[in-house]
Symmetry: C2
Subunit: 367 residues, 2 copies
């Protein structure tokens, strides 16, 4: 197998058919990620063609903090600024075609439902919601309203991850056998002790919900199948993380006996990687999940070894353009609501396994 | 922290105090590993100072195949050749001080007990035996006879693994948080379908017993503690492996909440690596477990990154010299019988978890 052939047109948008059009987006929630990553990529004027969305613009801001909203509106020239009551009441609704929902997981459904009720498409941050039930409600609300629902799993539009999935689909690694993935970091250094991620009601969980869902979603994407059972253990050795899982290790079993071994932590060296071992080869991505760092894809098949770092691609711009493309062409996004419901069913099995100590079938916890 | 300081005298034998002496070894079992790896390192005349043991010589061979034994004896100039009955009867017992026990796991105890009965020290291949009970019996037999018992976990004397343990002990990574390790390969390409490793009675299990014990033993060695609970899943999708686990994924929980996520497979690309993530740093070894390939140790602490490949060291020679050193100085080996009993208790918890689907406390299965 000529592995190099898989690396031609590495960063090409294999999904894009739209050639023109613009989707006007309202940002719902102006947290750190929205301000530091989304706005520069979607509303900024920085850099070359891959640093900026082609099919999106930010035309409205929804925030509970008028000062923050006005300051951001000034900086990026956004004309429509709404508070949450105004957003719910449908004020300024003609100024945007879609919403980007960020903020606490347990509020995503309300914002998405409001958007759907106004006929607006929804790009919702991961994880989709705080429970599988609320995720299903969001899917229903968007399907009933006939609007597009995408969930912000950037890696699914990140070129190296997409090339790796292509390699696996083409059988370059033989049959997948094992996946290892982890995402660790120091969350207190990023958002302090009062952030919603440490509030179990708002977050729905701890390290698993925030960073553990990345390897979970990635292995489902790469294997192209859903886990049938989960085994897990969680721990919270440090008082700062009381109420949520500071650390989780989970193990998933797939239909053909393949397994995924994943770890997430809120208090460890920053690291996020994945590896897939198959019957005839293996591949690794480093970093695998963090945004705006160029991943290196390493591939070993038999004695052949290829290491490839593609051209830099702004993943947030890719994500928003992919979303806009789906809206403009009426295409179902790959990380859609149902994809995220499947994540949440696995998340609930993982938490139930950690609590009961037994292996839990995925979907078994469904209410 | 000056990471480079940890790499000075990388391959130094930090354990060695013996300056002279020779331990005369009888090889019990002349399988592929004994012929292709042990004999050249212990009885051969190849290469420089680290390619050959300093404190060992092979002075006897025990084999069920007289032709094979005679041919090997001729090649390496070994004078004493015994069959198993002669070995048990104590013939030629003055020709050796110690035995190296290889061959099927379920026969290790009998050979080791015979050796101990004759007052001979024992270096036993990993895993120590086919069950924790039989492992305990071996420990008792050797303790009662006052002979040294070491189990052949090469990585414990491999320099990069020892340096990594030193770094972890010194707190270079902060507190350990998570371990990932795996050992996969194509066993049928190495020994065909009739090998004892595929016979559950002789092997005591499949991929876990043969290769999965490496990451298991390594994480106990590196963390310096024993797992308290295990969760596991096994599968045997291919008929060639019927009766043993072709694939195992297991997850161990340690007393402070640290976890280890491990995979082993008999039918996957050759690969063996480990990674430790701590609160302040991380480290990786590649390869981690296979013999006679120089491992690369990668260390990342904060933004500092060091990658080090030490000088080549013949691990089998290291292992035999470490064993001889322990015999000559009456030192307890690190990978001693009790260390291996702890492995076997984890192995039994892993198999019980795979069978019952529940988390099993290590030691809970003890009969």
């Amino acid at each position: 197998m000529d592995l190099d052939a898989h690396f031609e047109e590495f960063a090409a948008r294999d999904w894009q058919t739209a050639e023109e059009g613009t989707v006007r987006v309202a940002l719902v929630g102006l947290g750190e990620f929205a301000r530091d990553h989304v706005l520069p990529a979607v509303a900024g004027d920085a850099g070359g063609p891959t640093d900026r969305t082609s099919f999106c613009e930010v035309t409205a801001l929804v925030s509970g903090s008028p000062e923050k909203a006005e300051s951001v509106a000034d900086e990026y020239g956004v004309e429509t600024v709404l508070d949450y009551d105004e957003f719910e009441a449908g004020e300024g609704v003609d100024a945007f075609d879609a919403v980007y929902v960020a903020g606490p997981n347990a509020l995503h459904l309300d914002y998405a439902r409001t958007a759907a009720d106004h006929g607006k498409h929804v790009l919702c941050e991961k994880p989709i919601e705080a429970s599988a039930d609320r995720a299903r409600e969001m899917v229903r609300a968007c399907e009933d309203a006939g609007v597009t629902l995408m969930v912000g799993y950037r890696p699914q539009v990140e070129p190296a991850t997409r090339r790796l999935r292509g390699l696996i689909r083409d059988g370059a690694l033989g049959d997948p056998v094992a996946f290892h993935g982890w995402f660790t970091g120091h969350i207190l250094e990023q958002g302090g002790p009062d952030q919603w991620r440490l509030d179990p009601d708002l977050a729905g969980g701890g390290a698993l919900m925030d960073v553990g869902v990345y390897p979970l979603n990635a292995v489902r994407f790469l294997f192209g199948s859903d886990p049938v059972a989960a085994q897990a253990t969680t721990s919270t050795p440090d008082a700062e993380f009381e109420g949520v899982d500071e650390h989780v290790a989970f193990q998933l079993e797939f239909p053909e006996g393949e397994t995924a071994s994943c770890t997430a932590s809120y208090r460890a060296q920053d690291d996020d990687r994945l590896r897939v071992v198959g019957t005839e080869g293996q591949a690794a991505l480093n970093p695998a999940f963090n945004s705006e760092i160029n991943p290196t894809l390493t591939l070993e098949v038999g004695d052949e070894r290829v290491e490839y770092t593609g051209p830099y691609v702004n993943e947030v711009a890719e994500e928003f353009d992919y979303f806009a493309h789906c809206v403009l062409t009426d295409t179902r996004p790959e990380p859609d609501g149902r994809d995220s419901v499947a994540d949440m069913e696995a998340v609930e099995a993982i938490y139930e396994s950690a609590e009961t100590g037994r292996q839990v079938e995925v979907g078994e916890t469904e209410s």
